[in-house]
């Protein structure tokens, strides 16, 4: 979960024909469908899940997949399918809240240092160097150690580290845009700095950031569920995929479905984000390359 898995900055493109081209791509359609379904599950778990995710049923303990319980039941007779569905709410929230503030802070900071340069930019460069010197997970759990385990603290910890990556990306894009003719023209026209940055440069620089955001949400789910598994993220009895896998860990030889099913949910959702991210990157990339 670091610098590597970042997508090459792409240039913005006109939206005309975008939808038409997008619909011709199976990868885009698949990603869109997966995320759409995930979003539905996250928004309306109560309507979709067949059982109460927390209710114990001592008459149905550790039952394998069946018609009544398609994903089986866990050690307390709770329906695994219902728990996986309710976990969509937590994990999709994680994908969003762990990244959105980092993106907003990163966009703003990156735009400002990219536009003004100078000493702020030099300091920013050092901060980036220092932050990427820590393994992402190590830094995040060190911050969680100070704040204490839990979802909100996890968002804070991830944001505190992650904004740097967005800022770096935005800065590079803004620098590129600044060199373009239209930016010089805006200056000549006497527009204010704020107007140039936020009305002209940023809209042109934003699409690689958005593409990166898609991939990053997949990474946030991986990271969040890892923290949940380690006991540093979401806390039981809340249903979260990492927590569910940790709960099923003890029964992996006798009741494999308890930990297998949430794992599949992670993979499928992650795949949805990457498919969408990759195809957006391709679609937004200028033609002729």
């Amino acid at each position: 979960m670091t610098t590597l898995d970042r997508i090459a900055p792409a240039r913005p493109n006109r939206l005309s024909g975008f939808a038409a081209r997008a619909l011709k791509r199976p990868a885009f359609l698949a990603g869109f469908a997966i995320l759409g379904a995930s979003l539905l599950l996250a928004l309306f778990p109560a309507a979709i899940a067949p059982y109460d995710p927390l209710a114990f049923d001592m008459t149905a303990i550790q039952q394998g997949p069946s018609l009544a319980h398609p994903f089986g039941t866990d050690g307390f007779g709770r329906d695994v399918l219902s728990r996986v569905i309710w976990a969509y709410r937590v994990d999709m929230q994680m994908a969003f809240f762990a990244t959105v503030f980092a993106m907003l802070i990163g966009l703003t900071t990156g735009a400002l240092v990219g536009f003004y340069g100078g000493i702020a930019d030099a300091i920013f460069g050092r901060v980036v160097d220092a932050v990427i010197t820590f393994p992402f997970l190590v830094l995040v759990i060190a911050i969680v150690a100070v704040l204490g385990p839990g979802l909100v603290n996890m968002y804070v910890a991830i944001t505190a580290v992650n904004w740097v990556y967005y800022a770096r990306l935005t800065r590079a894009e803004i620098m590129a845009q600044k060199a373009q003719d239209y930016a010089a023209a805006a200056r000549v026209l006497g527009y204010s700095d704020a107007r140039i940055i936020f009305r002209h440069l940023l809209p042109n620089a934003i699409s690689p950031v958005i593409v990166y955001w898609m991939t990053d949400m997949a990474l946030a789910i991986l990271l969040g569920s890892s923290l949940g598994y380690l006991g540093l993220g979401a806390q039981p009895p809340a249903a979260e995929w990492g927590v569910l896998i940790a709960e099923g860990r003890n029964f992996i030889m006798t009741a494999w479905w308890i930990s297998l099913m949430p794992g599949i949910a992670i993979v499928v959702t992650g795949l949805g984000f990457s498919l969408l991210g990759d195809s957006l990157a391709d679609l937004l990339r200028p033609k002729g390359r």
Binding site: F56, M58, G148, L232, P236, R249, N250, F251
Partner: protein
């Protein structure tokens, strides 16, 4: 009957198993054992966490030993005598006992070890607070006490008074005793117990080998231990630890999660052991008149605390959390403790009575209570879910607050909680420790509940200098009755130590205090 002289012969018979063994013991071989956590420093005085404490007596023998049913047996001292005024203890050392390096164990080593153990900086120094001096004369050691101390003999059978060799220990460098202890341990210590430390790769493995000079004899009339070697592997993850056992990579695994006990009991290759423990799980109830924010505390009313206890279906909780391996609490102290009194589970499930008590206490129209639990604890979250469902029935709305362990400790100290989860295990085979912790106000305000009962406190103070065992038993009986009636706790359950062994391993024991005892374990080939 002021004098207590240990009948020597009876003790010797007690150490032998009750029934003749079906198979003769086999000597030799190595046993491998997967532990949940590693030891840091196995030293009688500086052992602080359970993984340290529970290993000490494998390396260092004590003057007295805990035998069956809490009775004391002779150890390195073959005889002990308490003076008529209860202020002098005279111990006669066993002749011919040697340390692992072959040097003789003398009264000088005992004085040295007990003086070390009295160090008030050490975590267990207060157990010997009544001792004013230790003297040696030939093979006799005399302890002088400030006042009679009914717990002192048990302390002499507790890990912290394990005997270390003075000469070898004093050769070590270190600014203070703690550093010397670390150096002594690191150098591969000379020991008085059944085993010696051969190797310790921190965090990974530890190897004990047989002490050839150990004094106790086994069933075959030759010196213990039977095993040549015990290999410990540190596997913190429960599931991995069990997999290691099931795949035959180790011969034993401790701390089996209760959820797996039934499955492992059914495994034909394994022997699933549930050793009785002194471990209790309970929940202190804030019993102060006012809450920390100054508002009136409904839990100050004993009827409300009783109601919550009646509204708690212990057998359901025992089934959910311990998978029926636990037992309901029958008194404030674990049933394996000396002077435990109480044969019936406290507060059997009776929601109607709970409702009546709440009404009597003037609680109408619901009661909001917060349960403080440990973040990351699956047991706590199960307990909360179950309590929430059970208490809904009597109009109690239970909310949860998840904190980490230091925060929970802080809340306990400052009284900023309604009810929180807690656990306890005895470190010493005597009721004073647990009774003081749970009920004596002057010791941390009765486990942080703020429960301050004059009669109970006086009884406890009297019992602390009571040397007549029958009177002491009476005082403890009375204290347990008061405590049960007053209910400053949610009484939950006792749990056993769950250890799974390969079928070839025999006679491994974990004591109610938790000590891992490999001295009589053996392996059939």
């Amino acid at each position: 009957m002021k004098k207590m002289i240990m009948p020597l012969l009876a003790a010797v018979f007690l150490t032998a198993p009750m029934a003749m063994p079906a198979t003769a013991v086999e000597r030799g071989g190595a046993m491998s054992f997967a532990r949940y956590d590693d030891s840091v420093l196995i030293d009688p005085v500086w052992a602080e966490r359970n993984p340290d404490i529970w290993m000490v007596t494998n390396l260092y023998d004590t003057l007295l030993r805990n035998g069956e049913k809490g009775a004391l047996e002779p150890g390195l001292a073959e005889k002990h005598e308490v003076s008529a005024d209860g202020k002098t203890i005279t111990l006669t050392l066993r002749q011919g006992v040697k340390f692992s390096d072959g040097s003789a164990l003398s009264a000088g080593d005992v004085v040295f070890s007990l003086e070390r153990a009295r160090n008030p900086d050490g975590p267990w120094g207060n157990l010997l607070a009544s001792v004013t001096g230790v003297k040696a004369e030939g093979s006799t050691v005399t302890l002088s006490l400030k006042q009679p101390d009914p717990t002192i003999l048990s302390v002499l059978a507790t890990f912290n008074t394990g005997i270390v060799p003075k000469a070898a220990y004093e050769k070590m460098d270190g600014a203070n005793d703690q550093e010397k202890a670390a150096a002594f341990y690191a150098a591969g210590p000379v020991t008085s117990g059944p085993f010696m430390l051969k190797e310790h790769q921190k965090g990974s493995r530890m190897v004990f080998v047989r002490n050839p000079n150990y004094w106790r004899n086994g069933e075959d009339g030759k010196p213990l231990p039977y095993l040549d070697e015990v290999d410990f592997e540190i596997i913190p993850d429960d599931a991995t630890r069990i997999l290691k056992l099931q795949s035959g990579e180790v011969d034993g695994a401790e701390f089996i999660p209760f959820s797996r006990v039934a499955e492992l009991s059914a495994d034909p290759n394994l022997d699933m052991k549930l050793f009785p423990s002194s471990r209790i799980i309970y929940a202190p109830i804030n019993s102060r008149e006012t809450k920390a924010d100054g508002s009136k505390n409904p839990l100050a009313d004993k009827r409300v605390r009783q109601a919550l206890n009646y509204a708690t279906d212990k057998s359901a909780i025992i089934r959910l959390v311990t998978f029926d391996t636990g037992m309901p609490m029958t008194s404030l102290m674990p049933a394996a403790t000396t002077y435990h009194a109480g044969s019936e589970p406290l507060y059997p499930y009776d929601p109607a009575r709970a409702q009546a008590l709440l009404k009597e206490a003037g609680i109408e129209g619901g009661l909001d209570i917060t349960l403080t639990t440990l973040a990351g604890s699956a047991d706590d979250s199960t307990l909360f879910t179950a309590l929430q469902q059970m208490w809904q029935g009597i109009g109690v709305n239970l909310k949860v607050e998840q904190v980490d362990s230091p925060t929970r400790g802080e809340k306990n100290r400052s009284g900023t909680f309604d009810i929180h989860t807690y656990g306890w295990a005895n470190d010493i085979n005597d009721p004073a420790q647990v009774t003081s912790w749970l009920g004596y106000y002057k010791h941390r305000q009765a486990v942080g509940t703020g429960w301050n009962n004059a009669e109970f406190n006086t009884l406890f103070e009297t019992s602390m200098t009571e040397t007549d065992p029958e009177k002491r038993r009476e005082e403890y009986k009375k204290m347990q009755e008061i405590y049960a009636e007053e209910a400053p706790l949610l009484f939950l359950y006792e749990t056993p130590f769950a250890v799974a062994l390969a079928k070839s391993v025999r006679d491994y024991v974990q004591s109610p205090l938790g000590a891992n005892d490999f001295s009589t374990a053996w392996k059939s080939k």
